[in-house]
Subunit: 214 residues, 2 copies
DNA sequence: CAATGTATTGGCCGTTCGGCCAACATGCAA
DNA sequence: TTGCATGTTGGCCGAACGGCCAATACATTG
């Protein structure tokens, strides 16, 4: 390939790596496939990422940063705590689609085998939790929410959102719409909202691109 | 190795496969390592499981059956719905330890790549959900629980239990004891129990071997 | 005892992997 | 222009993989 700016080349490789990981998983992601997807020889990939683990870790880091940025952007675009909470609890929450959640599932599974991935995964999980805590506490300060344990409620929201995304992929005893209904009902009760407050007055998108995770 | 009953040999191989999958994950589990762990040559393993996928699928199936059997046994050993619910919501719920949950995490991640694993995973997820539904409905019939939507509440219990186990491995904004507190508090509220009804009157084990689910 | 079926062994093959490196191409500075 | 740093290529290596198979050991049946 023609010469390219190192930063661009690196970004292209990381993008290809993220896509490859989402499709094949960490363990089955080979440097040669990533190189081919990025339009690069495997030798050049080794020039940017000396060993395989550094490539995977960098791809994970890039994906994590992108995810949390998108979440923050989605939160920042709306100053109403109730709307922010909808953004979070909407299927599958801010940040991406089913492919994005597959990535997180892979990351969680792989984290056990890699201390580096575990560290990044943990940091992001905490960041996501604190994001929700922030929304709740702002809502409390504004008098919109009433909640005794914001940290616990935030954990519930995150946990149910994750479970929603997980069981959407695997399948469970509940339909996705029912899961979302439970998530909303429990969140409303935890925050002292009136039933149905989280359900949108008018549906904006019929089938919006979804996504999940932290 | 000395000659052995085919059923025993097969069981030994499957046990080794489950252990290997739990430690290394599906993708990194090699037939040669499983064979070595089972004290068998790789050629013999091929005699029992013609190809690699059939070995992984059989190991998953075996683990799934064992898991659901243990859960049913744990439920059956106690006829009091409240005690049964404790058994389910106890960290990490009935069925195994952290290693067992790692297995499920691997299975969920791998299910996307294998229709056979996805089918088994889905069946087991439904079975687990219905197990909890059964406990709740029995409790309602006995007048111990009061619940409008047993299916939804069961999903909440399963979802939060899964999230508990997941975030125990990954890390999150909450300590394990706090997560368990949330799980109990929400379950009590959903079932019309008095606060603290799920917390054991007297702690039986200080640090019991834990585990999780479905 | 002989014979047949099966458990079991160990070696082999083709493929693919991660990693390494000599060579070439290109841009930039002296 | 010359020279050096660096992007880029493609081939090579050893290791490990899944799969295959001829040979062997053993148990059961006739």
């Amino acid at each position: 390939m023609a010469r390219m700016q190192p930063a661009q080349r690196r970004a292209a490789i990381l993008e290809a790596a993220v896509a490859e990981i989402s499709e094949r998983g960490f363990a089955r992601t080979t440097s040669r496939h990533v190189a081919a997807r990025a339009g690069v020889t495997h030798g050049l990939l080794h020039h940017y990422f000396p060993d395989h683990d550094s490539l995977l870790a960098a791809a994970f880091e890039a994906m994590a940063l992108e995810e949390i940025d998108e979440a923050n952007a989605a939160i920042a675009s709306d100053r109403d705590p109730l709307a922010q909470l909808r953004e979070i609890t909407e299927p599958f929450g801010p940040g991406g689609g089913e492919a994005a959640y597959r990535f997180w599932l892979e990351a969680w599974a792989e984290a056990y085998h890699s201390p580096k991935l575990q560290e990044t995964s943990r940091r992001l999980s905490v960041a996501w939790h604190e994001l929700v805590v922030g929304v709740i506490e702002r809502g409390i300060a504004l008098g919109v929410f009433h909640c005794e344990h914001p940290h616990e409620t935030a954990w519930m929201v995150v946990a149910l959102s994750d479970a929603y995304a997980l069981q959407t992929q695997i399948g469970s005893g509940l339909a996705p719409s029912e899961m979302n209904h439970v998530l909303w009902r429990l969140t409303e009760r935890e925050l002292g909202l009136e039933p149905g407050a989280l359900a949108r007055p008018a549906a904006a998108e019929p089938t919006p691109p979804a996504h999940s995770g932290h």
